[in-house]
């Protein structure tokens, strides 16, 4: 894990015009080693999707990103011209999305959609693309690929459609797979199968994975390292085992506490979750974004300059408060 595939430094993403510009991502720094699975976890609106989209500069209309650096294999993604960006999207990064239905063209057979990617991005001819697409369908665990090749997206189940999306995403053997809430829309059994598939393909292709989820359980299952995001900031970053066992940021701790455990199953324990609402865009002018919901907050938190400090080997936290381990 010595090679760093992706390094994001001080990423900011904002929306709106000039004086009414609001920041959605506030100086995120992150790195993904080659072959590593890094998780991005946080509530809706914490900026995790935007952060991973910045890697291929695919922001929603009106979004603008600045960063000290977004290095992918040593090349700053921000400096790529249009053609280089297209090549970067085509060859380096594969992406899968939350809703596998709306991500496939409803009027094209799924086999053709995989083959199209192979023809355009790999340069295979029609025949070779079809053969390759069939073997990709098999790779992602779709039985009787010959028949399914001819299916339209609406004829497949959610899990199968996500498998098709994965087949498209890994068709070019990318170095990084971005999975943006890729299992959220699926039922739990399918979710586990899709996660297994991602982990297996990562091993076979030797790619890194950036896994976005709001579900710590999913992250804990497959990730090596995890970045916890809140209000457009990374508040804690480190090895996943370390963060699960010794969460240092109060938000991470609250997030972990809100997960039901096997022990509590069947008991009538109401989990309150984290009181309050996450801040809305532009609400945080300065200080810690979590201050209003934090049980450790003091007045100093409202004005402090957020910075990551080392709390363990490779483990950093944005909170100056040191919390004892366990809860």
């Amino acid at each position: 894990m010595s090679d760093i595939l992706l390094r994001i430094e001080n990423l900011r993403i904002s929306f709106g015009k000039d004086d009414r510009r609001v920041a959605a991502v506030n100086g995120v720094s992150l790195e993904v080693g080659s072959g590593e699975v890094v998780g991005l976890v946080g509530e809706s609106g914490s900026g995790k999707s935007l952060t991973c989209r910045s890697v291929i500069r695919l922001l929603p209309p009106g979004g603008e990103m600045t960063a000290n650096r977004v290095l992918f294999e040593g090349v700053d993604v921000q400096s790529l011209d249009r053609d280089a960006l297209r090549a970067h999207r085509a060859h380096n990064v594969g992406m899968i999305f939350q809703d596998p239905f709306s991500c496939l063209d409803p009027t094209k057979r799924i086999g053709e959609q995989i083959a199209e990617t192979l023809r355009v991005n790999v340069g295979l001819d029609r025949e070779a693309a079809k053969v390759q697409a069939l073997s990709l369908l098999e790779d992602v665990g779709i039985s009787s690929p010959e028949r399914r090749y001819l299916a339209y997206p609406h004829e497949l189940s959610g899990g199968m459609r996500q498998r098709v999306m994965i087949a498209i995403a890994v068709a070019t053997k990318p170095k990084l797979l971005i999975a943006d809430e890729a299992t959220t829309a699926l039922d739990v059994t399918t979710q586990a199968q899709i996660l297994d598939l991602i982990v297996r393909l990562r091993r076979e292709i030797g790619m890194s994975v950036l896994l976005v989820s709001h579900d710590f359980g999913v992250i804990a299952q497959v990730c090596d390292r995890v970045a916890v995001m809140y209000g457009g900031y990374v508040v804690e970053f480190g090895p996943v085992a370390d963060i699960c066992n010794r969460p240092q940021h109060p938000y991470t701790r609250a997030l972990l506490d809100s997960i039901p455990t096997i022990e509590s199953a069947g008991q009538r324990i109401r989990r309150d979750g984290i009181p309050g609402q996450p801040p809305s865009l532009g609400e945080i002018e300065q200080g810690c974004p979590f201050v209003n919901r934090c049980s450790y907050a003091s007045d100093a938190c409202r004005t402090l300059e957020l910075s990551m400090r080392e709390v363990g080997p490779g483990h950093t936290s944005a909170c100056p408060v040191t919390i004892g381990s366990g809860s």
């Binding site: 291929i56 960006l85 999207r89 496939l104 063209d105 409803p106 199209e116």
Partner: protein, 315 residues
Amino acid sequence: MLNYLARRVGSSVIQLLGLALLSFTLIHLVPGNPVRTMLGGRASPQQVHQVSEALGLTRPLINQFLGFLGHLLTGNFGQSFTFSQGIGSLISQRLLPSVMLILFGTLVALLIGVPLAVVGALRSDRPIDHGIRIFTTVSFAMPTFWSGLVLALIFALKLNWLPVSGYTPGFVGIVRSLTLPAIALGLSLLAVIVRTLRSSVRHVLSLEYVEAAQARGFSTPRILFKHVMRNAIMPTATVLAVNVGFLIGGTVVLEQVFQIPGLGTLLFQAVQQRDYPLVETLAVLSGAVVVLLNLSTDIMQGIVDPRVRLGGKSV
């Protein structure tokens, strides 16, 4: 799918029957008498009665209507009152100019409209989009006879590029004589195409699979033509089919302005002369064109979008 087709065809037949009844009733309700128009003011009541009897106008209305239906079903359409020939041959002589005018006009509208719609969708709410909207609104607001006259004034009288009016057979002749009326007709259709297509392209562009295609590194033209257009074209095709009726109306006026011997001028003459069977037949036939076009767009929808195909088996 067959069941669906049968239902659609069935409802088309009913629509056409209704149309036949309506056009029959309307032309008989319009003041004026074909026989008096034919014979002139000095005809004696006896003469009028004789001719009316010969033309079958003294029969009860229901019998006249049934006779008309019979003619429609057998396809010989009967005799025209004023032109001394069968309606069938009359129509087939006049068909080509009108059909060419409508096709040419639609082509003009598509050639101008599709690029404008795509540009408008890609640059929505920017100055160029507003410019396109103003242009199409003005072109829509101009009556076809007016834009036809203005075009004739500029390109025929001033620049002398094309004939002012008239119709010459042969490919070159047709293109030359129909260019100006086709542009006038196309301009009237432009707004509908641009509005519909622009909004559906915009909608499709906002869908996630477009984003997914961008994430794959596909070029904008590829995304636009291979993925967006296919999904965005259907509403426009439907609107186009509905508007063919409107285009047929447009040809009546334009053929007068440009002196083109097509079905439009024929209909105009037929109405003036109260040529009952000719008016009725023309109305039902142009209605049949609209109904058939709508039917074929429905079928086409099933071909373009597999989700519309009913009774499809899941894999």
